[in-house]
């Protein structure tokens, strides 16, 4: 399908109005919106998952679900905030699905499978970043992807995640502890 070039007027339209238009069925608006945000979405997905393949899957999930989700975009929040939230939810859903599979094979509360999975991925990437991100629990990882990765303030990150600022600050301090622990392990 040929990509339709959005007309110049659309270039200067705000995200929010594009989103509203898309929700009302304007195909051009939808395309324009996606074009604007795809790269950023993919980058965020990379920060959340750490693996290209997973990030691509996650981005695809989000893109495919976007039309129906747009119906619930009420235009109160900024579009990017809303999009971040959609992305975090989608990542969460993917993780849960994967976790259920792992649990079904090994029983509840058994982290062995997760660890093995992590080991396999380590072998693939040897990347310091991947190792760190994988070692963080899910909620901390999401927070870090938003604050350090996307550069959101703690306040904005709190809005995206639906938490209080204090909670986000607490989480960041937990992340710091994790990082220190990893650092110490490396030195040892």
């Amino acid at each position: 399908m040929a990509r339709v070039i959005p007309n110049v007027m659309r270039m200067s339209t705000s995200d929010e109005s594009l989103a509203q238009a898309a929700a009302n069925g304007d195909q051009q608006a939808f395309i324009a919106l996606l074009e604007r945000h795809y790269d950023r979405l993919f980058a965020f997905a990379m920060r959340l998952t750490g693996l290209r393949a997973d990030a691509e899957d996650l981005t695809q999930d989000i893109c495919a679900a976007l039309p129906s989700k747009l119906n619930s975009f009420r235009g109160e929040a900024r579009f990017t905030t809303w999009l971040y939230r959609v992305a975090v939810n989608a990542a969460h859903d993917r993780r849960r699905r994967a976790a259920t599979y792992a649990r079904a094979t090994q029983g509840w509360g058994d982290w062995e499978v997760n660890r093995q999975q992590a080991n396999r991925e380590e072998a693939e990437t040897h990347d310091w970043l991947s190792q760190v991100m994988q070692s963080l629990p899910d909620d901390l990882r999401d927070t870090v992807a938003l604050t350090l990765g996307e550069g959101l303030s703690q306040k904005d990150a709190a809005t995206v995640l639906g938490l209080s600022e204090g909670t986000v600050a607490w989480r960041m301090s937990e992340v710091k502890k994790h990082l220190r622990a990893i650092h110490e392990r490396e030195q040892a």
Binding site: M1, R3, A22, G25, Q27, F30, I31, L34, Y38, D39, F42, A43, M46, R47, R52, E56, T59, Q60, C63, A64, A65, L66, P67, S68, N71, S72, R85, V88, N89, H92, D93, R96, R97, T100, R103, A104, W108, G109, W128, L129, V132, P137, D138, D139, D142, V144, A145, L148, G149, G151, L161, G162, L163, S164, T167, W170, R171, K176, L179, R180
Partner: protein, 707 residues
């Protein structure tokens, strides 16, 4: 941000570019899905991916019914109904909508249909009605044959009617449905008889009688605060959400046969969770046999109230009797029944209750958050004025939404409940810990304090490590705040976690699939669910090898304890609530019976001498709520075989049913038909119709298992 973060930040900023081909593919896919979403706008809201041919009403129609109550008004809207009907029949994908069971002016619909169906082409409608006709005839005759009974605690809405309309017309309750995955519109167009299921005392409609007009008196509807919401009957649960079904269940291999001479002692934690029965029921009602892992026989047996002898001074009474096993002439069943005390309402301690509600996006389905709200509202009417209620949500808008409020201020509490919306991510650090913090704030000397967690399976409450979660809950329990878990909906159910949390929290895990179940758990059996009378209840049975050659515990596989755990007061076990009954069944093979499955050891010792008038010895330990030391009750089990009473027979029938569902190998030729016969003969009073419902489930299972 500090230097620890710098490295991480730098690494995170540096993400690789997306691959151009993948990007194109994703954008194309998004565009396609956009186009699809535009073609049929209703689909965009749907989450049910199971193709169903014309199975439900549009939500608008039900809202309309909610508003209109008089016959005249209903008469006037039949045209719209018919129009709506035709739309549904044409729309290919079934919607997740509701069918008000019997509040429809069925007869007049038919007469007015031709004239008042303005929008839609007639042929379609007639065609559809003709098609429905044939199916209905078959249905109607089937349903006549089946026993028509229905639990009558409130409006008996059997949750999983795939047949949206059928819920409303000829045979309202899914009970009668022979279970086919394609929902049948049991809408008998030519002869619209509305057979209200025996809502027994409900609306005073006598069982089996067909009303001519089928409207339910308004006062009956008033029973429910928002009747239509309550009538939500979601369709096929297999694909209730966009995601694949991720139900998981906790279970173990069925208990093996044990040889008394080698392993004479059986130790079990006693518990009254009932979730498994509700899950089994939901599965059967929707036309498929439940996954074997979902069947926990003891929970099915314990679902039903039994009338055992009431206790006098102790918190509960114990009754043991032995009788012939229905499915095996050579063995016997040892039936152990515990009956909990039911203190008078006025004597019960004040209750502090925190509702911890999952309001994540996945809860938006009709059988989840709306049903939850309904259920909690029902429960409110059972609380006493000085009981305190608070509400905390753990997703999206996480946090406390209602500060501790006396139950007398019903309006305030229901208003807050009504305002709950599903949406947002799950992950509330605020969630569980906050709920407990609120609960501790309400705690007072002599009160019962409980957190009631209501969820569809998402336990991401901020503590990511499951062991930490368990420990946290156990600690809180020790300091006096208990936890019970209510599960809703399918597709996301985490049964294992539910069980584990409730076990650690000294509470009950129940699965709520319909409003009647909500009523059972939260109204009829509320005292049991909320007020414990005995904690950490364990039984230990030592069988006498001189009289019993082999034995087998039926069910309780997930509640086995080690032998030394019995005397160890630190080992957690189950709770008995006020008024609850608990039943345990052992199948025993007497020495010398031809049903003995194992041969005696060639090189082992001969069976030791023991008193030959005893089958075994029963020991029971329990703790008074708040106590740390347990009390012991001991009683020998005599060898005499008695005639089983109705309660014992019914318990045996359910135990047999559960084992049939698990494909147990030790039942011989015993079949569903035998279970049905046995249960039928042991129905006794059955004031709420639970037993009759069980028999219907057995019939369903019978037909399903023959496919």
């Amino acid at each position: 941000m500090s230097e620890e973060f710098d490295r991480l930040r730098a690494a995170l900023q540096n993400t690789p570019k997306p691959d151009a081909n993948t990007r194109d593919a994703h954008l194309r896919a998004a565009l396609e899905s956009f186009d699809q979403a535009q073609e049929t706008p209703d689909e965009a809201r749907q989450t049910n991916m199971h193709p169903q041919t014309g199975a439900g009403f549009l939500k608008g129609i039900s809202t309309m019914f909610k508003a209109l109550t008089s016959r005249a008004a209903l008469g006037m809207t039949t045209g719209l109904v018919t129009a709506g009907l035709a739309v549904i029949l044409i729309a290919p994908l079934g919607q997740d909508v509701m069918a008000p069971p019997t509040a429809i002016e069925a007869r007049s619909t038919e007469s007015e249909a031709p004239a008042d169906a303005p929008i839609l082409p007639q042929p379609n409608l007639e065609e559809a009605i003709v098609a429905i006709d044939d199916r209905t005839r078959a249905e109607a005759s089937q349903s006549e044959a089946a026993t028509t009974t229905q639990p009558s605690g409130g409006v008996s809405l059997q949750g999983r009617a795939e047949v949206g309309i059928a819920g409303g017309y000829a045979t309202p309750q899914a009970n009668h449905r022979s279970v086919a995955p394609t929902p049948k519109l049991a809408f008998d167009a030519s002869d619209l008889q509305v057979t209200p299921h025996e809502m027994g005392d409900f609306a005073g409609i006598a069982p089996g009688r067909k009303t001519t007009q089928g409207t339910i008196p308004q006062d009956a509807l008033n029973d429910l605060e928002s009747p239509v919401e309550a009538l939500i009957i979601p369709s096929d649960p297999v694909n209730v959400s966009e995601q694949p079904n991720t139900d998981t269940f906790a279970n173990e291999e069925p208990n093996p046969l044990k040889v008394t001479a080698q392993d004479p002692v059986s130790t079990v934690s006693i518990d009254v969770d009932t979730a498994s029965y509700a899950v089994v029921r939901a599965s059967l009602m929707n036309g498929y046999l439940p996954p074997k892992d979902a069947v926990r026989v003891e929970e099915m047996v314990n679902y039903f109230p039994y009338s055992y002898a009431a206790p006098d001074t102790a918190p509960f009474s114990t009754s043991v009797n032995t009788f012939q096993t229905p499915w095996n002439a050579g063995t016997q069943l040892v039936h152990i029944g515990l009956q909990g005390q039911l203190p008078a309402l006025a004597d019960r301690p004040p209750l502090n209750l925190v509702f911890l509600i999952d309001t994540s996006g996945s809860m938006q389905h009709a059988n989840k958050l709306p049903l939850l709200k309904q259920s909690l509202r029902l429960m409110l009417s059972e609380l006493r004025p000085d009981d305190q209620v608070a509400i905390v949500t753990y997703a999206g808008s996480a946090g406390q939404v209602l500060e501790p409020t006396p139950a007398a201020e019903r309006a305030k509490i229901t208003a807050t409940l009504d305002n709950l919306q599903a949406g947002g991510s799950t992950a509330g650090q605020a969630g569980l810990q906050q709920a407990y913090a609120v609960a501790e704030g309400m705690m007072d000397e002599g009160d019962v304090t409980r957190v009631l967690l209501a969820t569809d399976g998402d336990f991401n409450v901020g503590l990511s490590d499951p062991e930490a979660l368990e420990t946290f809950i156990a600690d809180k329990r020790d300091s006096g705040t208990y936890l019970s878990v209510l599960g809703f909906g399918r597709g996301n159910l985490d049964d294992a976690t539910m069980q584990a949390l409730a076990q650690n929290g000294n509470g009950q895990a129940a699965y709520i699939d319909t409003l009647s179940e909500a009523r059972k758990v939260l109204v009829d059996q509320l005292s049991g669910a909320l007020f414990p009378i005995a904690n950490d209840v364990k039984i230990q049975v030592e069988f006498n090898p001189a009289t019993i050659a082999e034995y087998r515990l039926i069910g309780y596989e997930t509640r086995a304890l080690r032998r030394e755990g019995f005397n160890n007061d630190k080992v957690d076990a189950g709770e008995i609530g006020a008024g609850h009954t608990v039943t345990a069944l052992y199948e025993v093979t007497p020495v010398g019976s031809d049903a003995t499955l194992t041969d005696p050891l060639r090189y082992g010792q001969a069976a030791p001498d023991g008193p030959t008038d005893e089958l075994g010895f029963l020991r029971l330990r329990y703790k008074q709520p708040g106590a740390t030391k347990s009390q012991l009750i001991e009683t020998p089990i005599q060898t005499e075989v008695s005639q089983p009473g109705t309660e014992a027979r019914f318990a045996a029938a359910i135990a047999g049913f559960g084992q049939l569902l698990r494909d147990d190998t030790l039942l011989g030729d015993w079949s569903y038909a035998d279970a049905i016969a046995l249960a039928n003969g042991a129905k006794a009073d059955d004031p709420f119709g639970y037993r009759a419902e069980a028999i219907t489930l057995m019939r369903l299972a019978e037909s399903l298992s023959q496919n």
